[in-house]
Amino acid sequence: MNLFPLTVRRAETSRRGKVLVGPIDLDLDGSGATVVMGPNGSGKTTLLRLLHGAARLTAGQITWACDEQYARTQQGFVFQRPVMLRRTVLDNLMYPLRMRGVVRTQAQIQAEEWALRVGLEKMLGRVATNLSGGEQQKLALARAMITEPQVLFLDEPTAALDGRATREVEAVLRAARASGMHLILSTHDLGQAKRLADEVVFILHGRVLEQGNARAFFDAPQSIQARAFLRGDIVE
Protein backbone atom coordinates (compact mmCIF):
# COMPACT_ATOMS: atom_id res chain seq x y z
CA MET A 1 0.00 0.00 0.00
CA ASN A 2 1.43 3.35 -1.02
CA LEU A 3 1.42 6.28 1.39
CA PHE A 4 1.64 8.93 -1.29
CA PRO A 5 0.40 11.34 -2.44
CA LEU A 6 0.33 13.26 0.81
CA THR A 7 -2.16 16.09 0.77
CA VAL A 8 -2.08 18.92 3.28
CA ARG A 9 -4.96 21.38 3.29
CA ARG A 10 -5.20 24.46 5.51
CA ALA A 11 -3.21 22.57 8.17
CA GLU A 12 -2.52 24.54 11.29
CA THR A 13 -1.16 23.93 14.76
CA SER A 14 -1.42 26.41 17.59
CA ARG A 15 -0.62 26.56 21.26
CA ARG A 16 -2.43 28.76 23.76
CA GLY A 17 -4.12 30.63 20.94
CA LYS A 18 -0.88 31.35 19.08
CA VAL A 19 -0.53 29.81 15.62
CA LEU A 20 2.85 28.07 15.41
CA VAL A 21 2.55 26.81 11.86
CA GLY A 22 -0.09 27.31 9.20
CA PRO A 23 -2.31 27.49 7.43
CA ILE A 24 -0.36 25.24 5.09
CA ASP A 25 -1.27 23.70 1.74
CA LEU A 26 1.14 21.10 0.41
CA ASP A 27 1.17 18.19 -2.02
CA LEU A 28 3.95 15.61 -1.88
CA ASP A 29 4.11 12.81 -4.44
CA GLY A 30 6.67 10.75 -2.53
CA SER A 31 9.57 10.62 -4.91
CA GLY A 32 13.16 11.32 -3.86
CA ALA A 33 14.00 13.78 -1.12
CA THR A 34 11.96 16.78 -0.06
CA VAL A 35 13.98 19.36 1.81
CA VAL A 36 12.14 21.80 4.06
CA MET A 37 14.20 24.98 4.18
CA GLY A 38 13.91 28.21 6.06
CA PRO A 39 15.69 30.30 8.64
CA ASN A 40 15.80 29.37 12.33
CA GLY A 41 12.40 29.63 13.96
CA SER A 42 10.51 29.47 10.67
CA GLY A 43 8.58 26.35 11.76
CA LYS A 44 10.49 23.57 9.98
CA THR A 45 10.55 21.21 12.95
CA THR A 46 6.90 21.86 13.77
CA LEU A 47 5.91 21.21 10.15
CA LEU A 48 7.77 17.89 10.17
CA ARG A 49 6.19 16.90 13.47
CA LEU A 50 2.79 17.89 12.12
CA LEU A 51 3.20 15.76 8.99
CA HIS A 52 4.44 12.86 11.11
CA GLY A 53 1.51 13.16 13.49
CA ALA A 54 3.66 14.00 16.51
CA ALA A 55 2.21 17.52 16.78
CA ARG A 56 -1.51 18.11 17.19
CA LEU A 57 -3.38 19.47 14.20
CA THR A 58 -5.65 22.27 15.40
CA ALA A 59 -7.20 23.04 12.01
CA GLY A 60 -7.18 21.69 8.46
CA GLN A 61 -6.35 18.23 7.19
CA ILE A 62 -3.35 16.04 6.48
CA THR A 63 -4.28 13.07 4.33
CA TRP A 64 -2.15 10.12 3.30
CA ALA A 65 -3.21 7.87 0.41
CA CYS A 66 -3.89 5.03 2.85
CA ASP A 67 -5.54 4.74 6.24
CA GLU A 68 -3.95 6.70 9.06
CA GLN A 69 -3.03 3.74 11.25
CA TYR A 70 -1.12 2.06 8.43
CA ALA A 71 0.52 5.37 7.50
CA ARG A 72 1.85 5.68 11.08
CA THR A 73 3.58 2.32 10.77
CA GLN A 74 5.27 3.38 7.55
CA GLN A 75 7.09 6.39 8.96
CA GLY A 76 10.37 6.92 10.72
CA PHE A 77 11.66 10.03 12.45
CA VAL A 78 15.22 11.11 13.17
CA PHE A 79 15.71 13.97 15.59
CA GLN A 80 18.29 16.73 15.53
CA ARG A 81 19.65 15.48 18.83
CA PRO A 82 19.56 11.69 18.67
CA VAL A 83 17.61 10.04 21.46
CA MET A 84 19.36 6.86 22.58
CA LEU A 85 17.62 4.16 24.56
CA ARG A 86 19.70 3.26 27.62
CA ARG A 87 20.71 0.00 26.03
CA THR A 88 23.44 -1.41 23.83
CA VAL A 89 23.75 -0.53 20.14
CA LEU A 90 22.35 -3.97 19.27
CA ASP A 91 19.36 -3.54 21.59
CA ASN A 92 18.68 -0.06 20.19
CA LEU A 93 18.60 -1.48 16.68
CA MET A 94 16.42 -4.41 17.66
CA TYR A 95 13.96 -2.28 19.61
CA PRO A 96 11.60 -1.16 16.77
CA LEU A 97 11.48 -4.70 15.40
CA ARG A 98 10.78 -6.26 18.79
CA MET A 99 7.98 -3.72 19.36
CA ARG A 100 6.44 -4.96 16.12
CA GLY A 101 6.55 -8.54 17.27
CA VAL A 102 9.61 -9.73 15.33
CA VAL A 103 11.21 -12.69 17.11
CA ARG A 104 14.53 -12.03 18.83
CA THR A 105 16.74 -14.13 16.53
CA GLN A 106 15.30 -12.55 13.40
CA ALA A 107 15.54 -9.06 14.92
CA GLN A 108 19.19 -9.69 15.78
CA ILE A 109 20.03 -10.76 12.22
CA GLN A 110 18.45 -7.59 10.83
CA ALA A 111 20.09 -5.41 13.48
CA GLU A 112 23.53 -6.79 12.66
CA GLU A 113 22.90 -6.24 8.96
CA TRP A 114 21.93 -2.58 9.57
CA ALA A 115 24.88 -2.03 11.89
CA LEU A 116 27.11 -3.16 9.02
CA ARG A 117 25.40 -0.74 6.62
CA VAL A 118 26.05 2.26 8.84
CA GLY A 119 29.51 1.14 9.99
CA LEU A 120 28.62 0.30 13.59
CA GLU A 121 29.20 -3.45 13.33
CA LYS A 122 32.09 -3.36 15.79
CA MET A 123 30.11 -1.44 18.38
CA LEU A 124 27.09 -3.71 18.80
CA GLY A 125 27.88 -4.49 22.43
CA ARG A 126 28.60 -0.92 23.44
CA VAL A 127 26.19 1.21 25.40
CA ALA A 128 24.56 3.62 22.95
CA THR A 129 24.92 6.75 25.06
CA ASN A 130 28.70 6.24 25.17
CA LEU A 131 28.99 6.67 21.38
CA SER A 132 30.16 9.89 19.74
CA GLY A 133 27.59 12.33 18.30
CA GLY A 134 28.14 11.09 14.74
CA GLU A 135 27.89 7.44 15.77
CA GLN A 136 24.72 8.14 17.72
CA GLN A 137 23.15 9.85 14.73
CA LYS A 138 24.07 6.93 12.45
CA LEU A 139 22.55 4.58 15.00
CA ALA A 140 19.40 6.72 15.16
CA LEU A 141 19.21 6.60 11.37
CA ALA A 142 19.64 2.84 11.20
CA ARG A 143 17.09 2.38 13.99
CA ALA A 144 14.57 4.56 12.16
CA MET A 145 15.17 2.73 8.86
CA ILE A 146 15.31 -0.83 10.16
CA THR A 147 11.56 -1.25 9.78
CA GLU A 148 11.94 -0.02 6.19
CA PRO A 149 9.40 2.80 6.35
CA GLN A 150 8.16 4.39 3.15
CA VAL A 151 8.91 7.85 4.45
CA LEU A 152 11.66 9.05 6.76
CA PHE A 153 11.44 12.43 8.48
CA LEU A 154 14.76 13.98 9.46
CA ASP A 155 14.92 17.10 11.57
CA GLU A 156 18.26 18.78 10.86
CA PRO A 157 20.02 15.43 11.24
CA THR A 158 23.55 16.78 10.83
CA ALA A 159 23.21 20.12 12.63
CA ALA A 160 25.44 19.04 15.51
CA LEU A 161 27.90 16.93 13.51
CA ASP A 162 31.36 17.58 12.11
CA GLY A 163 32.20 17.32 8.41
CA ARG A 164 33.18 13.67 8.42
CA ALA A 165 30.11 12.53 10.35
CA THR A 166 27.91 14.68 8.08
CA ARG A 167 29.39 13.01 5.01
CA GLU A 168 28.75 9.54 6.49
CA VAL A 169 25.15 10.40 7.41
CA GLU A 170 24.49 11.85 3.97
CA ALA A 171 25.86 8.69 2.36
CA VAL A 172 23.34 6.64 4.36
CA LEU A 173 20.58 9.02 3.31
CA ARG A 174 21.53 8.76 -0.37
CA ALA A 175 21.44 4.98 -0.13
CA ALA A 176 18.02 5.17 1.52
CA ARG A 177 16.74 7.48 -1.22
CA ALA A 178 18.15 5.16 -3.89
CA SER A 179 16.31 2.23 -2.30
CA GLY A 180 13.01 4.07 -2.80
CA MET A 181 12.53 5.56 0.67
CA HIS A 182 11.09 9.08 0.57
CA LEU A 183 13.03 11.53 2.70
CA ILE A 184 11.47 14.65 4.20
CA LEU A 185 14.35 16.56 5.67
CA SER A 186 14.56 19.93 7.34
CA THR A 187 17.74 21.95 7.19
CA HIS A 188 19.01 25.49 7.07
CA ASP A 189 22.28 24.23 5.61
CA LEU A 190 22.15 25.42 2.01
CA GLY A 191 24.94 23.11 0.89
CA GLN A 192 23.21 20.05 2.28
CA ALA A 193 19.93 21.07 0.68
CA LYS A 194 21.66 21.35 -2.71
CA ARG A 195 23.36 17.98 -2.25
CA LEU A 196 20.25 16.06 -1.23
CA ALA A 197 17.10 17.80 -2.43
CA ASP A 198 14.92 16.72 -5.31
CA GLU A 199 12.19 19.04 -4.15
CA VAL A 200 12.28 22.08 -1.87
CA VAL A 201 9.65 23.50 0.45
CA PHE A 202 10.63 26.99 1.59
CA ILE A 203 8.95 28.02 4.80
CA LEU A 204 8.89 31.31 6.69
CA HIS A 205 6.86 32.36 9.74
CA GLY A 206 5.10 28.99 9.67
CA ARG A 207 3.86 29.35 6.10
CA VAL A 208 4.98 27.74 2.88
CA LEU A 209 6.27 30.43 0.55
CA GLU A 210 7.54 28.15 -2.21
CA GLN A 211 7.37 24.51 -3.18
CA GLY A 212 8.91 23.00 -6.25
CA ASN A 213 11.75 21.33 -8.06
CA ALA A 214 15.07 21.79 -6.25
CA ARG A 215 17.06 22.91 -9.27
CA ALA A 216 14.39 25.46 -10.25
CA PHE A 217 14.30 26.75 -6.68
CA PHE A 218 18.05 27.21 -6.41
CA ASP A 219 18.35 28.69 -9.93
CA ALA A 220 15.38 31.01 -9.84
CA PRO A 221 13.55 31.37 -6.52
CA GLN A 222 10.17 33.05 -6.92
CA SER A 223 9.83 34.93 -3.62
CA ILE A 224 11.91 37.87 -2.39
CA GLN A 225 12.45 36.09 0.93
CA ALA A 226 13.76 32.90 -0.74
CA ARG A 227 16.13 34.96 -2.89
CA ALA A 228 17.38 36.76 0.20
CA PHE A 229 17.78 33.44 2.06
CA LEU A 230 19.78 31.91 -0.80
CA ARG A 231 21.96 35.03 -0.93
CA GLY A 232 22.77 34.47 2.73
CA ASP A 233 20.93 37.56 3.94
CA ILE A 234 19.15 37.61 7.28
CA VAL A 235 15.51 36.85 6.57
CA GLU A 236 12.92 38.00 9.07
Binding site: H52, A54, R72, T73, Q75, G76, F77, F79, V83, L85, R86, R87, Y95, P96, M99, R126, V127, N130, A144, F153
Partner: protein, 241 residues
Protein backbone atom coordinates in the same frame (compact mmCIF):
# COMPACT_ATOMS: atom_id res chain seq x y z
CA UNK B 1 29.03 10.16 84.93
CA UNK B 2 27.72 6.90 86.33
CA UNK B 3 24.80 6.97 83.85
CA UNK B 4 27.16 7.49 80.95
CA UNK B 5 29.28 4.53 82.07
CA UNK B 6 26.14 2.45 82.40
CA UNK B 7 25.04 3.39 78.86
CA UNK B 8 28.48 2.55 77.49
CA UNK B 9 28.24 -0.72 79.33
CA UNK B 10 24.85 -1.45 77.70
CA UNK B 11 26.26 -0.68 74.29
CA UNK B 12 29.25 -2.94 74.82
CA UNK B 13 27.02 -5.64 76.25
CA UNK B 14 24.78 -5.25 73.17
CA UNK B 15 27.68 -5.74 70.79
CA UNK B 16 28.85 -8.76 72.79
CA UNK B 17 25.33 -10.19 72.85
CA UNK B 18 24.93 -9.68 69.10
CA UNK B 19 28.24 -11.46 68.55
CA UNK B 20 27.22 -14.32 70.83
CA UNK B 21 23.82 -14.74 69.16
CA UNK B 22 25.42 -14.79 65.74
CA UNK B 23 28.28 -17.14 66.60
CA UNK B 24 26.06 -19.64 68.40
CA UNK B 25 23.39 -19.33 65.67
CA UNK B 26 20.80 -18.89 68.40
CA UNK B 27 17.71 -20.80 67.34
CA UNK B 28 15.25 -18.03 68.33
CA UNK B 29 17.37 -15.42 66.57
CA UNK B 30 17.49 -17.45 63.37
CA UNK B 31 13.73 -17.99 63.49
CA UNK B 32 12.98 -14.29 64.10
CA UNK B 33 15.47 -13.17 61.44
CA UNK B 34 14.08 -15.53 58.83
CA UNK B 35 10.55 -14.38 59.63
CA UNK B 36 11.61 -10.75 59.33
CA UNK B 37 13.13 -11.49 55.94
CA UNK B 38 10.16 -13.56 54.79
CA UNK B 39 7.59 -10.90 55.75
CA UNK B 40 9.61 -7.95 54.43
CA UNK B 41 10.76 -9.51 51.15
CA UNK B 42 7.24 -10.78 50.40
CA UNK B 43 5.86 -7.31 51.10
CA UNK B 44 8.60 -5.82 48.93
CA UNK B 45 7.85 -8.07 45.96
CA UNK B 46 4.10 -7.42 46.19
CA UNK B 47 4.62 -3.70 46.86
CA UNK B 48 7.01 -3.32 43.90
CA UNK B 49 4.65 -5.26 41.64
CA UNK B 50 1.96 -2.70 42.45
CA UNK B 51 4.03 0.47 42.78
CA UNK B 52 6.34 0.24 39.75
CA UNK B 53 3.64 -0.21 37.07
CA UNK B 54 1.60 2.49 38.84
CA UNK B 55 4.58 4.86 38.65
CA UNK B 56 5.08 4.04 34.95
CA UNK B 57 1.40 4.62 34.26
CA UNK B 58 1.53 8.01 35.99
CA UNK B 59 4.59 8.91 33.92
CA UNK B 60 3.21 8.08 30.46
CA UNK B 61 -0.53 8.52 30.76
CA UNK B 62 -2.28 11.87 30.84
CA UNK B 63 -5.65 11.73 32.55
CA UNK B 64 -7.88 13.89 34.65
CA UNK B 65 -6.77 14.30 38.27
CA UNK B 66 -3.31 12.89 37.42
CA UNK B 67 -1.58 15.68 39.31
CA UNK B 68 -3.92 15.08 42.22
CA UNK B 69 -3.07 11.38 42.27
CA UNK B 70 0.66 12.18 42.27
CA UNK B 71 0.21 14.72 45.09
CA UNK B 72 -1.74 12.19 47.17
CA UNK B 73 0.88 9.52 46.51
CA UNK B 74 3.64 11.86 47.64
CA UNK B 75 1.67 12.77 50.74
CA UNK B 76 1.11 9.09 51.55
CA UNK B 77 4.87 8.55 51.73
CA UNK B 78 4.57 9.91 55.25
CA UNK B 79 1.68 7.64 56.15
CA UNK B 80 1.84 6.94 59.93
CA UNK B 81 2.42 3.17 60.28
CA UNK B 82 0.41 3.02 63.48
CA UNK B 83 -2.65 4.34 61.64
CA UNK B 84 -2.09 1.80 58.85
CA UNK B 85 -1.85 -0.92 61.50
CA UNK B 86 -5.06 0.28 63.12
CA UNK B 87 -6.98 0.34 59.82
CA UNK B 88 -5.71 -3.11 58.80
CA UNK B 89 -6.57 -4.37 62.31
CA UNK B 90 -10.13 -3.08 61.99
CA UNK B 91 -10.49 -4.60 58.52
CA UNK B 92 -9.11 -7.99 59.56
CA UNK B 93 -10.60 -8.23 63.05
CA UNK B 94 -13.32 -10.80 63.63
CA UNK B 95 -16.05 -8.16 63.33
CA UNK B 96 -14.41 -6.46 60.34
CA UNK B 97 -15.27 -6.98 56.65
CA UNK B 98 -12.39 -9.45 56.14
CA UNK B 99 -12.60 -11.06 59.57
CA UNK B 100 -13.84 -14.30 58.07
CA UNK B 101 -10.43 -14.82 56.47
CA UNK B 102 -8.84 -15.22 59.90
CA UNK B 103 -5.72 -13.29 58.95
CA UNK B 104 -5.30 -11.15 62.05
CA UNK B 105 -2.16 -11.97 64.08
CA UNK B 106 -0.58 -13.85 61.18
CA UNK B 107 2.44 -12.98 59.02
CA UNK B 108 -0.01 -12.35 56.15
CA UNK B 109 -1.58 -9.47 58.09
CA UNK B 110 1.91 -8.07 58.68
CA UNK B 111 2.65 -8.33 54.96
CA UNK B 112 -0.60 -6.51 54.09
CA UNK B 113 0.27 -3.67 56.47
CA UNK B 114 3.80 -3.39 55.09
CA UNK B 115 2.56 -3.37 51.49
CA UNK B 116 0.22 -0.47 52.29
CA UNK B 117 3.09 1.44 53.90
CA UNK B 118 5.68 0.92 51.15
CA UNK B 119 3.58 1.20 47.97
CA UNK B 120 3.32 5.03 48.09
CA UNK B 121 7.01 5.32 48.95
CA UNK B 122 8.22 3.09 46.10
CA UNK B 123 5.72 4.56 43.63
CA UNK B 124 6.69 8.16 44.43
CA UNK B 125 10.45 7.60 44.18
CA UNK B 126 10.02 5.47 41.04
CA UNK B 127 7.77 8.09 39.48
CA UNK B 128 10.47 10.74 39.77
CA UNK B 129 12.93 8.57 37.83
CA UNK B 130 10.40 7.42 35.26
CA UNK B 131 9.13 10.95 34.67
CA UNK B 132 12.66 12.13 33.85
CA UNK B 133 13.25 9.17 31.54
CA UNK B 134 9.87 9.70 29.87
CA UNK B 135 10.71 13.32 29.07
CA UNK B 136 13.87 11.97 27.37
CA UNK B 137 12.09 9.15 25.49
CA UNK B 138 8.76 10.83 24.76
CA UNK B 139 9.33 11.98 21.18
CA UNK B 140 11.19 8.81 20.20
CA UNK B 141 8.54 6.41 21.47
CA UNK B 142 5.73 8.49 19.97
CA UNK B 143 7.55 8.49 16.62
CA UNK B 144 7.92 4.71 16.83
CA UNK B 145 4.19 4.36 17.33
CA UNK B 146 4.53 2.02 20.29
CA UNK B 147 1.55 1.13 22.46
CA UNK B 148 0.95 2.46 25.97
CA UNK B 149 1.91 -0.90 27.47
CA UNK B 150 5.12 -1.01 25.45
CA UNK B 151 6.01 2.50 26.59
CA UNK B 152 5.55 1.48 30.21
CA UNK B 153 7.59 -1.71 29.79
CA UNK B 154 10.36 0.22 28.02
CA UNK B 155 10.56 2.77 30.83
CA UNK B 156 10.50 0.11 33.54
CA UNK B 157 13.26 -1.87 31.85
CA UNK B 158 15.53 1.05 30.98
CA UNK B 159 15.16 2.64 34.42
CA UNK B 160 15.52 -0.67 36.24
CA UNK B 161 18.55 0.34 38.26
CA UNK B 162 16.96 3.57 39.46
CA UNK B 163 13.86 1.55 40.29
CA UNK B 164 15.98 -0.83 42.32
CA UNK B 165 16.88 2.12 44.54
CA UNK B 166 13.17 2.89 44.93
CA UNK B 167 12.47 -0.71 45.91
CA UNK B 168 15.39 -0.73 48.34
CA UNK B 169 13.99 2.39 49.99
CA UNK B 170 10.79 0.37 50.42
CA UNK B 171 12.78 -2.51 51.87
CA UNK B 172 14.47 -0.17 54.34
CA UNK B 173 11.12 1.20 55.45
CA UNK B 174 9.55 -2.24 55.76
CA UNK B 175 12.37 -4.04 57.60
CA UNK B 176 12.51 -1.28 60.21
CA UNK B 177 8.74 -1.05 60.62
CA UNK B 178 7.38 -1.82 64.09
CA UNK B 179 4.15 0.08 64.85
CA UNK B 180 1.83 -1.44 62.26
CA UNK B 181 3.10 -4.99 62.47
CA UNK B 182 2.99 -4.95 66.24
CA UNK B 183 -0.74 -4.11 66.03
CA UNK B 184 -1.73 -6.57 63.29
CA UNK B 185 0.83 -9.28 64.13
CA UNK B 186 0.58 -9.18 67.89
CA UNK B 187 4.27 -10.06 68.44
CA UNK B 188 3.39 -13.69 69.16
CA UNK B 189 6.39 -15.89 69.96
CA UNK B 190 7.12 -18.48 67.27
CA UNK B 191 4.33 -17.04 65.13
CA UNK B 192 4.56 -13.33 64.33
CA UNK B 193 7.61 -12.13 66.25
CA UNK B 194 10.12 -10.34 64.03
CA UNK B 195 13.33 -8.44 64.80
CA UNK B 196 11.71 -5.05 65.35
CA UNK B 197 8.91 -6.30 67.57
CA UNK B 198 11.41 -8.42 69.52
CA UNK B 199 13.55 -5.31 70.08
CA UNK B 200 10.49 -3.42 71.33
CA UNK B 201 9.63 -6.30 73.67
CA UNK B 202 13.14 -6.67 75.09
CA UNK B 203 13.42 -2.90 75.60
CA UNK B 204 10.12 -2.99 77.46
CA UNK B 205 11.45 -5.80 79.65
CA UNK B 206 14.58 -3.76 80.36
CA UNK B 207 16.94 -6.21 78.65
CA UNK B 208 18.83 -3.50 76.77
CA UNK B 209 21.76 -5.72 75.91
CA UNK B 210 19.60 -8.22 74.02
CA UNK B 211 17.58 -5.39 72.45
CA UNK B 212 20.78 -3.72 71.27
CA UNK B 213 22.14 -7.03 70.02
CA UNK B 214 19.00 -7.59 67.95
CA UNK B 215 19.25 -3.98 66.73
CA UNK B 216 22.79 -4.49 65.52
CA UNK B 217 21.74 -7.67 63.73
CA UNK B 218 18.80 -5.79 62.13
CA UNK B 219 21.12 -3.08 60.83
CA UNK B 220 23.57 -5.70 59.56
CA UNK B 221 20.75 -7.54 57.83
CA UNK B 222 19.48 -4.38 56.10
CA UNK B 223 22.98 -3.50 54.89
CA UNK B 224 23.66 -7.07 53.72
CA UNK B 225 20.44 -7.27 51.70
CA UNK B 226 21.12 -3.86 50.11
CA UNK B 227 24.67 -4.80 49.20
CA UNK B 228 23.59 -8.19 47.87
CA UNK B 229 20.94 -6.67 45.61
CA UNK B 230 23.34 -4.00 44.35
CA UNK B 231 25.98 -6.61 43.71
CA UNK B 232 23.58 -8.96 41.95
CA UNK B 233 22.33 -6.18 39.65
CA UNK B 234 25.82 -4.69 39.18
CA UNK B 235 24.57 -1.12 39.60
CA UNK B 236 28.03 0.35 39.91
CA UNK B 237 29.46 -1.34 36.84
CA UNK B 238 30.85 1.15 34.36
CA UNK B 239 28.61 2.11 31.45
CA UNK B 240 25.48 0.56 32.90
CA UNK B 241 22.47 1.98 34.59
Amino acid sequence: MTDEWAQMGDLWAGITEAFRLLVTLDRDLVEITLRSLQVTLTALVIGSAIALPLAALLAVRRFRFRRGVIAVLNALMGLPPVVVGLVVYVLLSRSGPFGVLGLLFTPTAMIIAQVIIIVPLIASIAHQSLRDLWSEYHDLLISMNVTQGQKMRTLLWDARRALLTASLAGFGRAIGEVGAIMIVGGNIDHATRVLTTAIALETGKGDFALALGLGIILIGLAITVNLAIHWLSRTEQEGRW
